[in-house]
């Protein structure tokens, strides 16, 4: 990938590419597990630079609470206590699924692909 700006995204991309191409193959079998974890962490960090998860959280909360109110912690408490209004609780599973997809695009896109959810 050709980077247009030398920003965090471009640096992480370059570092991961070099790690995978030049460092991982040279590691001993014992070190390869650690090397693969580092590459994985760098890739997650790079994808995490996008604001998609935060946007998905706000979209979910805006559908449930008054504008500017509510938080994922509040939502977690309301679900456990069963205190979400009936009308709002109806589409909740689908909204939560949408949030999880946004999270998983950062955390593990290959998992999503394995579950038939495209990028």
């Amino acid at each position: 990938m050709t980077a247009r700006r030398l920003d965090a995204d471009a640096l992480l991309d370059l570092a991961t590419e070099m790690l995978r191409a030049e460092v991982l193959p040279a590691l001993s079998a014992e070190q390869r597990y650690a090397g693969a974890m580092i590459a994985n962490a760098l890739e997650i960090a790079r994808r995490g630079l996008s604001e998609e998860v935060e946007a998905a959280e706000w979209a979910l909360l805006d559908g449930l609470y008054e504008e500017g109110e509510g938080s994922t912690a509040q939502l977690a408490r309301d679900i456990r206590a069963g205190t979400l209004p009936e009308g709002k609780a109806r589409g909740l599973a689908d909204s939560l699924r949408t949030l999880l997809i946004a999270e998983l695009r950062v955390r593990n896109p290959r998992f999503l692909a394995s579950r038939g959810v495209g990028g």
Partner: protein, 356 residues
């Protein structure tokens, strides 16, 4: 369990100073002399350490050369896991009941011998590596029979029932296994710094769809591909008993078949090695009460919720427990996967489809 691997986690046993262990072992097994000729850290076990120990034993009932496994308490244990002496008591109970488990040899509660309490068992042959088992080119030939063997062993474990004098330390589920599990998971979620609304949703669903309980049995608690040994397509032993508890026998079957433990073989619901029907064939042939395939869905969803909770706790060990481990941090990102699977399964059940 022949794989060894380096680790950045702190170790207890020091391979450069094995004399205290050799002296303790000699006394524990009534030998004249024990020499330890090998000590390798085995792979697996983010919670505790497993070492392969080769011992040359002179005198006593175990005279000869033995390959052993030494299992230590971890530096930090998960709240729901048993300490080494209690896990060892469960292993002994299973061994007495004829379950395929490494023969328990000796246990040491004294922290000063190697730096932590530990237990010693005979080393079993075979591999526990999930990916090696699920990607074996011969899997199609041996998978169904292996799943039946596993089902049979589970039935044998579940035949151990309370009251049991040697397992008196295990609490009975109150009022039942589902409520106990959900209470435990909610308690863990309360301690986590990251709210997980999807997991709360799954727990509330489970509470609302709780099946009638079965008679309480000994439940392994972590019986999945990766925690049993396979050699030439056959089961050689069941590992990792630290989550053993009194519970509902269906917990183990649901955990085994949960979608998160199929290692890429998604269509082979029973641990990525065979179908649920294969697993239950073996189980029902040995069990005193048969379990039907459609009962498993609830317990697979419970299993997904449990693994999501444990993964979240592992992440907390990094976030607030001060354990600087990349492995724990990456595990802490995994709950979204199990939550997603649980939501998919719930959606399937609610529209009358079989769960994946």
């Amino acid at each position: 369990m022949n794989e060894t691997r380096s680790s950045s986690r702190p170790r207890t046993l020091d391979p450069g100073n094995l004399d205290p262990l050799a002296r303790w072992l000699a006394q524990a097994i009534e030998a004249e002399h024990v020499e330890i000729t090998r000590a390798d850290l085995l792979s697996g076990g983010a919670v505790q350490e497993n070492w392969r120990i080769d011992a040359s034993i002179r005198g006593g009932p175990r005279n000869g050369t033995h390959a052993l496994v030494l299992r230590t308490d971890a530096v930090a244990r998960l709240p729901m896991s048993l300490d080494r002496p209690r896990e060892f008591a469960c292993i002994k109970a299973a061994h007495r009941a004829g379950v395929l488990v490494a023969e328990p040899i000796a246990e040491c509660a004294d922290k000063h011998v190697i730096g932590a309490p530990f237990a010693v068992q005979r080393l079993l042959s075979g591999t526990a590596q999930a990916r090696r088992i699920t990607r074996d080119p011969k899997l199609a030939a041996f998978g169904p029979a292996l799943a039946r063997e596993i089902g049979g062993q589970l039935a044998r474990i579940h035949a151990i029932r309370p009251p049991n004098d040697t397992l008196a330390f295990l609490p009975l589920p109150e009022p039942d296994a589902v409520v106990t599990a959900i209470t435990e998971m909610r308690r863990a979620l309360d301690k986590a710094s990251e709210p997980r609304p999807a997991l709360e949703f799954v727990l509330s669903w489970l509470m609302a769809h709780k099946p009638a309980p079965r008679p309480v049995a000994l439940v392994h608690g972590d019986f999945r591909t990766g925690n049993y040994l396979v050699e030439d397509g056959h089961l050689t032993g069941i590992l990792d008993w630290e989550f053993c508890h009194w519970g509902d026998p269906r917990e183990d079957l649901g955990w085994f078949s949960a979608r998160c433990w199929r290692f890429g073989n998604d269509a082979l619901a029973a641990g990525g090695i065979a179908t649920r029907a294969d697993l239950l064939d073996g189980y029902n042939a040995m069990a005193d009460a048969a379990i039907a395939e459609d009962e498993l869905a609830f317990w697979e969803i419970l299993g997904a919720a449990r693994w999501a909770t444990i993964a979240l706790l592992q992440g907390q060990r990094f976030l607030s427990g001060g354990e600087r481990s990349l492995e724990l941090a990456l595990t802490g990102l995994m709950p979204a996967e199990m939550e997603f699977d649980a939501l998919e399964a719930i959606a399937a059940l609610e529209s009358g489809r079989p769960i994946p």
